[in-house]
């Protein structure tokens, strides 16, 4: 079940006794609890950590009657009993017993930050009798944008569609994107969040920065490339891994060049079709022989580092200079 469907369903028919949320988008777990509290009679959220507290304190809370009539939502996170690496034991048995006979009119939300559950476990089979909600990272941009819009609406955040797209491009995760809403709102100071605000405040994710950087490298934007290089080093990339990343991208471009069926070529190469499509788009700027030359330049850089002839940083700088030079020559030739 999708998390948004689960919220809608709970709004219409009232919350279920047990929800199991699992997936990489851990920010959605908190959002889900907040939405349940906002839309229903639960007064607040009581949070427990399964790995630290076990299930007993949560069970005690669920099975106790409140003298004041408050029925807080009970949220237990990191329930490792649902994943293969989690240990079974008395806590898992308690949880299984509760899942067999949950307390009516109370809501228990369990979460585990894993996209896959261990289907062989008894607790997993019992949890499937209730509502199991998957929260994976959206793979399609369109889905992600729809979900982000919904999240922004629920948090009363005014944001331009362009800004939302930029936010998704930079974060690549609903959790990280949601996390930026408050900061962006404070920065925009009551105005709708614009794309420039996002550019100013939201850091690029490391992989994305590398991707943009590679794009700049193949376009021969020498000044931008060296400026961005410092940022990449700060993010923890070392020169040799950047040479490898560049080599991979340019090799992909060479493979994508002239391929009649990109999907098939992607399957043959064992890469994601999207990566190959992007590489093909980049490769359109270069003739095949130029791509060959660029691959050779990077292979030489790797060779020079491995034989101890050049320091990795110098080899990377040299390779970037060669790439920039090649790109400039190509541009001049095209003109």
């Amino acid at each position: 079940m999708d998390i948004f469907d689960a919220v809608d369903h709970a709004t219409r028919t009232g919350p279920a006794s047990v929800y199991l949320l699992h997936g990489s988008e851990i920010g959605l777990f908190d959002w889900f609890c907040d939405e349940l509290v906002r839309n229903h009679r639960a007064s607040s959220v009581l949070r427990f950590d399964y790995q630290e507290d076990g299930f007993e304190p949560a069970e005690l809370e669920l099975c106790s009657y409140s003298l004041f009539g408050e029925r807080p939502l009970v949220y237990v996170r990191n329930v490792a009993a649902f994943v293969p690496e989690g240990r079974s034991g008395p806590d898992a048995d308690r949880l299984a017993a509760y899942l067999e006979r949950p307390v009516p009119e109370r809501t228990l939300v369990l979460s585990v930050p894993s996209d896959k559950l261990d289907e062989r476990r008894r607790v997993t089979k019992l949890a499937k009798r209730h509502a199991v909600v998957a929260c994976p990272v959206p793979t399609r941009d369109r889905d992600a944008m729809a979900k982000l819009e919904r999240l922004a609406r629920s948090k009363s955040v005014a944001i331009d569609p362009e800004a939302l797209a930029e936010l998704w491009r930079r974060t690549g995760s609903l959790t990280l994107a949601m996390n930026e809403f408050d900061k962006l709102c404070a920065y925009a100071d009551g105005h709708p969040i614009a794309r420039d605000h996002v550019r100013e405040l939201v850091p690029m994710q490391a992989e994305d920065s590398v991707f943009t950087w590679i794009d700049e490298v193949v376009q021969g934007k020498v000044a931008a490339v060296f400026e961005a290089l410092d940022g990449l080093f700060r993010q923890g990339y070392d020169a040799f891994s950047l040479i490898a990343l560049l080599a991979r991208q340019i090799r992909l471009m060479a493979f994508a060049k002239g391929a009649a069926d990109l999907e098939r070529r992607a399957k043959e190469l064992g890469v994601h079709p999207y990566a190959l499509r992007t590489a093909a788009r980049h490769a359109a700027r270069f003739p095949e022989r130029q791509l060959e030359r660029l691959v050779r330049v990077l292979a030489d850089a790797e060779w020079d580092v491995k034989r101890g002839r050049l320091a990795p940083e110098v080899a990377l700088h040299l390779a970037l200079m060669e790439l920039a030079h090649a790109s400039t020559l190509e541009r001049k030739r095209a003109q």
Partner: protein
């Protein structure tokens, strides 16, 4: 009052003072004004960019009793002054590098629930938060998730990628950027004025560059330079303090090389040595300057160096004789030297040799009259040599030792021309010499070829194989892949498709077994040579006809020019006892 280091004395005390982080300033002041503060902040960025200062500023702003404009700390009330002094018990600065265990974090967690003693909010500033252990992070997580309303967490780190995603997702993250040199220079100017220090603008720029975007480093260097220069800061003082050579001189050195002013370049180098600079540092700085010159040359934009002024570079970068190819070659040579310096006994000599070769390269390239030709790095040229000749890169194709393998054969004019081109191509002298020797040996053997003997050996080849098999089974297995290529009265040349087989038969024991079998078959002792089949075919196709023709013409007339034998020349020059011929093992 005790003396305070400048970077402490000039810590920003208001948001207006916060240098180089406008995005952080605007967001925090808006949040303070609207009262929508987050419960946890994460400040990331390189050292000296203002993370801890901002955290302290924020602590003052949330606790100030009379904030100006609703967000600016007054720096006069008791809360502000006590936080500034570091005596406010509700604002705690924790060094996570030395308090990294779960016990310390549990202790913190226990204290979080008590209300503040004197301030409005308890502020925990956790510096270097990436140093916490995974267990400590887990312990912190629960507190970060739902802290009491009177608590504000500020986590600061230089390495945000080492934090768990669960921590990052519970904080409002701000990325502090490296401070632009302009902003650092502006701040240094202000400090110089208020401290009564005379500072040259160019010197302040140099300090800002050396600080690499960190204001704290810049102020520390500034303080050091002021002390060294006795209240005056100029380029020379900064160069001494920073320990590097100033950019103007480095660019001037590149200009000297471009102009081939050897003497001027050497004098410059001598002066740097006299002032205590070492070769490694000079090469390091020179590498940066060459890279920057390249960037300026290619991008031709006033903002090419990300805020660093391009003026010192422009006069040299815009020169016609400073080509991008030459700068690439310089980068490579200096880069190689930078790695080799640690093994060199005379670093200065090595540096001078590289600089001279760069200057000389300019001359040789001009002499060629081909300023637009691309200087291929050595390995790229080597790779190009490996490729088959194509119309795209005739120069590289000509450099292929197989294609132009007729070095010693002067009779074929076209081949000789290609050999000349090959000599001009950039490639290691050693491999060129080895390939040359190999061709020469093969050519000599070819001249002595005895076709009758060759036919005899072809006929008895199964016997040779059987004889080798009786001696060494393993050698027989290798030899099965060989073919007789050439036989002379004293030598037998075998060709192999695979390099592995070729090398295997040349091992002493295998070679001895084969030579013994060949001696039995031919009735005389012979020397064994093994080559790759591809090389043999190449040689047979291109060089052998020329040799045959040469042999014919030599018979007709002795006036034909003789082949130049380098080994013979060396023996003639130095004497046979001084010359040792060694095969360098190049795969020919």
């Amino acid at each position: 009052m005790a003396y305070q280091a400048l970077y402490r004395a000039y810590r920003p005390q208001t948001f207006e003072d916060l240098v180089g982080q406008p995005h952080v300033r605007q967001t925090l002041t808006n949040a303070l004004r609207s009262g929508q503060l987050a419960h946890a902040y994460l400040f990331c960025g390189p050292r000296g960019t203002g993370k801890t200062s901002t955290a302290k500023l924020l602590a003052k702003a949330v606790n100030c009793l009379q904030p100006k404009h609703g967000f600016e700390p007054c720096n006069a009330c008791e809360a502000c002054t006590s936080i500034q002094r570091g005596s406010n018990v509700d604002v705690q600065e924790i060094d996570a590098a030395s308090n990294r265990g779960v016990d310390e974090i549990r202790d913190l967690r226990d204290h979080v629930h008590y209300l503040p003693t004197m301030a409005k909010k308890k502020v925990y500033i956790v510096d270097e938060v990436h140093m916490l252990t995974p267990e400590a992070f887990n312990a912190l997580l629960k507190t970060l998730e739902e802290p009491p309303p009177h608590v504000l967490f500020v986590l600061a780190t230089t390495e945000p990628h080492r934090l768990p995603a669960t921590i990052i997702s519970r904080c409002q993250r701000f990325d502090f950027r490296r401070i632009a040199p302009e902003a650092i220079v502006e701040r240094l100017r202000l400090v110089a004025q208020s401290q009564g220090i005379e500072a040259a603008d160019s010197a302040l720029w140099r300090l800002a560059e050396a600080a690499d975007g960190g204001l704290r480093d810049a102020l520390a260097l500034f303080e050091q330079a002021a002390a060294f220069g006795d209240g005056r800061i100029d380029d020379a003082t900064v160069a001494d303090v920073v320990g590097s050579v100033d950019i103007g001189s480095l660019v001037a050195l590149v200009r000297d090389l471009a102009e081939r002013s050897f003497l001027s370049a050497m004098e410059r180098l001598g002066r740097w040595y006299a002032s205590g600079k070492d070769a490694s540092r000079i090469v390091h700085d020179l590498l940066q300057v060459v890279r920057d010159l390249f960037i300026v040359k290619l991008s031709q934009s006033p903002d090419a160096l990300a805020g660093k002024p391009v003026d010192p570079y422009l006069p040299v970068a815009s020169r016609d004789d400073v080509t991008a190819e030459w700068l690439l070659a310089a980068m490579r040579r200096l880069g190689e030297l930078y790695t080799q310096l640690r093994y060199v006994e005379e670093p200065r000599l090595a540096l001078e040799a590289v600089l001279m070769s760069l200057a000389a390269e300019r001359r040789s390239r001009e002499a060629e009259g081909d300023s637009s030709a691309s200087i291929q790095p050595a390995r790229t040229a080597a790779a190009a040599r490996r490729r088959a000749p194509s119309s795209e890169q005739p120069a590289q194709a000509a450099a292929d030792p197989l294609a132009q393998a007729s070095g010693p054969v002067s009779a074929a004019p076209e081949v000789a021309k290609r050999a000349r081109e090959a000599r001009e191509a950039a490639r290691p002298a050693s491999s060129r010499a080895a390939a040359h020797r190999k061709r020469e040996t093969l050519a000599r053997l070819y001249r002595d070829r005895d076709e009758a003997l060759e036919a005899r050996l072809q006929g008895t080849w199964p016997d040779v194989l059987a004889s080798v098999k009786a001696k060494r089974v393993q050698t027989h297995a290798w030899l099965l892949h060989g073919e007789v290529a050439l036989v002379t009265p004293h030598a037998v040349v075998l060709s192999f498709k695979s390099r592995i087989h070729r090398e295997a038969v040349m091992k002493p024991a295998d070679r001895a077994a084969i030579e013994a079998a060949l001696a039995e078959a031919l009735g005389q002792p012979v020397q064994l040579f093994a080559i790759l089949q591809a090389d043999w075919e190449e040689f047979a196709a291109s060089v052998a006809p020329a040799i045959a023709e040469e042999a014919g013409s030599q018979e007709a007339s002795d006036a034909a020019p003789a082949d130049v034998d380098v080994v013979q020349l060396a023996i003639d020059l130095f004497g046979a006892d001084k010359v040792t011929v060694e095969d360098e093992g190049d795969d020919g």
